[in-house]
Amino acid sequence: MKVKALIAVLFIGIILFWAVEDMPAFGDPDAPATQYTGQLYVDAVLPDIGIDNIVTAILASYRGFDTLGEVVVIFTAGISVALLLRRGGRL
């Protein structure tokens, strides 16, 4: 069983290392990940919103509803831990 697992791990590892060859270089401006919407946001953030931090602009303004959901998720985690572990007392 261990030999089978080792063979599977080696097989998948070789495939992954093989796939690394096709990835773009680190910080390549022509990489596919930066081609699609990246330049769009870089150009649009300053006239649209007027703040310097593009990440915060996307996080809080373009994707504001999503971020509200994330905060509610963290709040729900706190509530859940309180309900599970807190003995007695009120919330």
């Binding site: 649209d48 504001g64 509200l68 831990v81």
Partner: protein, 143 residues
Amino acid sequence: MMENVVIRTVSRLAVPFIQIFALYVIVHGASGAGGGFQGGVVFAASFILMIIAFGTANVRRRIDNRGIMWLSVIGITIYAGIGFLALLMAGNFLEYAAIEAVLGIPHLHGILIDLVEAGIGIAVMAAMVSIIYDISGNGEESS
């Protein structure tokens, strides 16, 4: 742990600087690296350091379970309230540009993003500290 004077002195020195740095990270969210999530977690880390150094009961005396839950709710209310404010100003939910257009204040968009980040920071800090209270305490001293 209470008798270790080195830990108590060092954390008494370090906690204000950690909290100042956390507030800096939250406020700096719109113009540089930073944001509400990161700043809130750093602020909660200062509370964790206080709990490690001074014990849970001492920290609970400053802010108890009810207070921390209220802070958590207040943080989310700030965020959602700004969203509903945009709704009130004839925009979509969380459409800050509508508030800026109605009130006519320049750069209000960035200020509202800062307020939203502050709300996120308060909510994340309160949730983290609440979890730490529940995990570190033995459950009997809940108030």
